[in-house]
Structure formats: C-alpha cells, structure tokens
C-alpha cells in the first residue's frame, strides 16, 4: 500500500517535471541548421528585410549605408545580435560603428551586454559588434518602455568616420540568435496585439467615425478559458494534488500497525 503510494507520487512528480520544466537553453547564437541565408538588407524602417532568429545574414554594402533588418520576438525570449563588418584596407582614419535595436514602435532598446558601439582604427580589417537584449515581457503598462512581443528592428551603421572613407565596399555578417526562452506564460498578463508596425498607407478622415455600441465582439470560447500549461492555475492545481497525496501518506504513516 505504502509502496503503491510512493509510486503514484513519483509518477505524478515525473509528469509535473515533464509538463512544466521551462526549456531554458542558454547558449551563444549559432545559425540554425538548414536556415536559408539572407543576402539583402533594407534601408529604412519600412523596408527592413525580415529575418528570423538563427538565420544568417551576409550582405555587400557601402561604408555609410544604414542597413535594416527586422525579426519577430515572443514573450520570454532573450535575443543576442552579433555582427561582423569586414572592410577594405587603405582607410584614412578611425571609425565608430553601431548596432541599434528598436521595437515595433521604433523605440530604442537597451543592450544588456555586448559591444554596441565599437571604434576601430584605420588599420583594422574588421569590426565585431554585439548586443544582448532584455527579456521580452508578455505585458507592460502602456507608459513603460519594457520590451514587448512583436517585431524588432536592427539597424547597423557607421556613426563617426572621416568623410573620404564613405562609399567604400564592405561585407556585413549578422546573426540574430535566441539565447533563452522562458516561454510565453512566464509572466502574468498578455498583450492584446503584438507590437507589429502597421505598414499600410494611412487614410485621412474627414470626421470622427461614429461607433455603434454593439461593435464589441464576444469571441469567448472554450479555447480561451483553458489555461496555458505552465500557468499559475496548473502549477497551483498540481500543488494541491501533491499536498493531498502527501497528507494521505502522512496519515497512513502514523497508523497503528495492524495486529496479526
């Protein structure tokens, strides 16, 4: 009887581990096997070339170009951006390079680690840039600047250099990697719509559009009510079950052994 109890508890724990252990793999970003390399770049926020984490970028450009790429991020992820710029010899002076990251609202994102704005002297043949972003939150107050799920834009450019060096050919290698992923339900709250920029041309309205009060839709279904695995409901529910099992076990331990 006791052994059976132990067994069932162990099985339950194992199930809990399998279901709830967050896949937190921390490693330096490497290209995903089989990812298609990208050989182009955009030149503005609207024309940023979409890439995904793990997709290597290699593009020819000129010194002075502002190169844009965009990648999607979901809650719980931490991204790291690594870039290498290789340039020709015979430049006339030191240059400072930068990799800037913006969220879907074009708000500048902080780097928690990495050489974001390195300076190299005239003799260097390449420069390595890096930026590790903050963890993407699943929800934040509208007034805050926390990183949220949606599209992120990477901009690579040179910010200081002697003018004669502009226009010379360079090779750019860039890789965006996901170095950690705690899963979408790691935080409470959810953003109604990810921060994906609206790129359609706008329309100027003539008057404030009237809104009928019935416009709100009620898309409540069973799917919305089922909790995510890994949410507080599931954790607490399993905790309750474990507590009950442990209670029964404890009670059973103190029972007077049956007399023969």
């Amino acid at each position: 009887m006791r052994i059976a109890l132990f067994r069932s508890m162990a099985a339950l724990l194992a199930a809990g581990v399998a279901a709830l252990l967050p896949a937190a793999a921390v490693a330096a970003p490497t290209p995903s096997p089989g990812a298609t390399p990208v050989n182009r770049a955009g030149t503005s926020f609207l024309t940023a070339t979409p890439i995904t984490a793990g997709q290597p970028v290699r593009v020819d450009a000129s010194i002075g170009d502002h190169l844009y790429w965009s990648f999607p991020a979901t809650a719980g992820q931490v991204h790291e951006i690594n870039a290498t710029v290789t340039f020709p010899k015979g430049r006339s002076g030191a240059s400072t390079w930068t990799v800037d990251v913006f969220d879907g609202l074009r708000r500048r994102q902080a780097c928690t680690a990495g050489a974001q704005t390195p300076t190299v002297d005239a003799k260097a043949s390449n420069v390595v840039l890096g930026c590790t972003l903050r963890e993407v939150r699943s929800w934040a107050e509208p007034w805050s600047a926390d990183p949220l799920p949606g599209t992120y834009v990477v901009r690579l450019s040179v910010i200081e250099l002697p003018e004669p060096d502009l226009g010379a050919p360079i090779d750019v290698d860039l890789l965006v990697g996901t170095i950690a992923d705690r899963g979408a339900s790691a935080d409470d709250g959810e953003l109604a719509a990810p921060l994906v920029p609206n790129t359609k041309a706008g329309t100027v309205l003539n008057a404030v559009p009237p809104v009928d009060a019935e416009a709100d839709d009620e898309s409540g279904s069973l799917a919305d009510w089922l909790p995510d695995l890994g949410s507080r409901w599931v954790w607490t529910g399993i905790g309750g079950v474990l507590a009950a099992v442990a209670g029964v076990f404890g009670f059973a331990v103190t029972r007077r052994p049956r007399r023969p």
Binding site: P142, L222, T236
Partner: protein, 482 residues
Amino acid sequence: MLAEPTPFLAQLTEGDPAWTLSAGAAGRGDPRPSRSRRFGAPPPKRSSKVDLTTLRIVINFRRSTAVLLGLLATTALTGPAQADEEPAPEPPRVELVLDVSGSMRAADIDGRTRISVAQQAFNEVVDALPEETQLGIRVLGATYRGKDKKVGCQDTQQIVPVGPVDRSAAKAAVATLRPTGFTPVGLALRSAAQDLGTGATTRRIVLITDGEDTCAPPDPCEVARELAAQGTSLVVDTLGLAPDEKVRRQLLCIASATGGTYTAAQSAEELTDRIKQLVERAADTHTRAPTVVGGTSACDSAPLLAPGVYADREAFSEHRYYRVPIRPGQELRASVSMALDRAVNRDYGVLLRATAADGRELVRGADAGSGRADVLSAGLRWSATADDEDAAETEQSSAPVIEPTTVCLVVSNSFAPRPGTAATPGMPVELTIDVVAAAPAPDGPDLGRGWVLLGLLTIAGLITGLLAGLLTRWWVATWREN
C-alpha cells in the same frame, strides 16, 4: 449562408484554431486587426513545450470542437468571412541616370575608360533584371559637342523609356553612347523624376556620375530635396566613378536628401554588383508609399488620422499636430521618425507627445542622438485609464453612441541647422499610427507557480497528514482506555 464550408474545415485540420476564429471575427466588420494575421511569420507560441502528446490531442480536440461550433454560429449569422482586398501593387520602377560627359573618357578604372566600365555594367544589369521591374535609362551630356554652356546644360535624353524592358534594344542604345558634353545633373534628376511619373509606390533613381555638376544652378542637391518634398516618394541612390572630393560631397548630399545611398565604385565588378543590388532592392522594398498629410500648428484644426503610415515635413523647432480618434477599450500606438536629410548640428532630438483635447499631456516618447544618422525615432503607447472608461460609460448611458476620445499627437524636434543649411522645405517626418485592442493590467497573482510552491504545498500536506494521523491515533487510544 454555409456555402463555403470546405476552407474552414481545411483550416481546422491544419491545427491552428485560433486563426480561423479570428478570421471569422474579422469578417464581422471588426476594425481591430486580428492577432495572428498581424503577427508576421511565426504564430504566437502557446505552450508548445509539452511532450505529453495525449494531453495535447485532447486539448486540440476540445479547441477544435469549440472553434467549429463558434464558426458555424458566426458563418450562419454573417456569411463567409471576407479577406482584406489589397489593391494590386504597381510594378517597381527604376531609372538609371548615366553621366556621359567628356570626363567619362578618362581611362582610370582597371586601365579601362569609365564609360566602357559603365556600359559593361549596364549590359549585365539589363541581363539580370528581375522580370517585373520596369527600368528606364536616361543619359546626360551625351549629344552636344559645342562649347555653349547654355545649350550644353539642356543636354539630357531618355534613351530607354521606363517600362517592361526590351533587353536587346536597351543594350544597343547603351552601346552607342560616346562621352561628349556637359554635366547637367540637376536637370537630369528633375527629368528622371518626370519619367518615373507619380504613383502610389516608391520610385528609385540610380545616378551614376564621375564629375561634379557643371551647370548649377539648379544645384543638384537642392533639386533632389525639392523632388523628395514633392509628395511622390522618391529615392536617389548615387554611384561615384573614381570620385574626387567635390563629387563625393555632391553625391552624398543628393543621397541623404532623398534617403538614398552613396557608393564609390573603384572597379568594374564593384559597379556592376552595386547597380544590380540597387535594382534588386527596388523590387524587394517595393512598398506602398506613405500617405502625405499636413500637420497643423494647433490641435483643433489638426488632420484626423486612421491607422496607417503618413509622411509630412517639419521645419526646425516646429510643432506639428495630428488627431487620432480612440474608442474606450482601444490602445493608441504611434511612432515618428525624422530623417536627417541635411547638415545639422551635432546633437539633436525628437519628441512625440500625446495630449488630451484640453492640452493635458497623456504620454510622451522621446529620443536623442548625436553624430551621423539617417533617422531619429520615438514611439508611444496609450490606452484610456479606468477614469476615462467610466466617463465613456456614463456617456453611453445617456446617448446610444459612444463618443471616441480624440487624442492629439504633437511632433516636435530639437534639430538645429548649421550655418548655411536650408530651412525649407522641412525635414521628412514619417508617422505611424495604429489602434488596437487595449491590454488591461493583469489581475493580482492569486495563484502561485514554481517548484518551491510545489515543495511547500507537499510539505504542508505531509505535516497536516502526520498531525492528523497522530491526533487520530492519540484520540482513539484515549477513547479506548476510557
């Protein structure tokens, strides 16, 4: 009503029920963009880290059933969902503008003349032209051999009209070019912009030259800025063939005035690769140009904007106002980018503020920078707070129609011109507006999560069980003795 059941069933079997659901909701005229449709490539991940296949199947099955029922109800009520009809985009249009002035005779690129290098590059570009791209070629300084500057500075012709390219004809036209006359870059740019016409998408000009403009006025850089400010979205990419300092300055100025790029080509291969890349980029980044709007100097008269992208111009130290109607339960998202299209002082900033109609500030987004940059951007989010929602609800009880709150957006900048920098037209402003469903603050965490919680609950349960057991045992023993 249920005329098209097959697509829905097909989508259901693909196993993303959330998508079909939102498509159904969108069909009922909900202006809010559905979550999955707006979210680029990968759909939002929901608990995909579970290995318990059986559990997943059960959940999926339940969801699918629910979705199917919901969908049947939706379709029965409103008919099949309609997809957004995007207008068919125009083909990408590019014009190559080639300098064929006398200086192109110089043989200083890998021992070949500049014009022969350019001709070879053009041939390769025409061969590798993407199918849908419409390409035109214009030359300057190609025909007039005389010395009269007045006549020489009118010397620009379109040798291949912008349109679907006849490859052999285009190559033949390029092959006959002989370096001849003056360099009227400004006039050529103006004519090239006319060749490309007006339309809803971005147009690109690739300017290839080896010498500075010999015909100013008009100054090519001013022409470029004037063309960029005309409403049609126009980008001029410049290529300098063995450029000297004056040429570089001029080409850099033209490129930055229009948001284009500058390249110094030192070899035939570089020139070919770069032109190919620019023509390809024109096809890749071929998007609908932002709507041109004119912000005003006060909130009352400001233009009322629907979600989308807008373009405007703002002078140094100017404030521009725009208005956006927001319903209760909606969130405003706005971002602004100001382009540094001219020489400005070293440090600068841009500020985007959202204010209520009475001028009270709701939220602001700001960014500052220094040094070389193409644009400076700021963004903000705002949704009505509980107070505002209460106010809206009282309005609702009195009137059948909810009056949307009108939020004013104020764009201001702290750019400062360098001595000699032109102040007009203003600097380019790109404004992005989006209105989505508000994301309310999550409720307090009544429940727990984590391994410590599981351990604590288990130990608490164990102790309770032990105590209960001991107590029962003691109680039974006492009861028996008595």
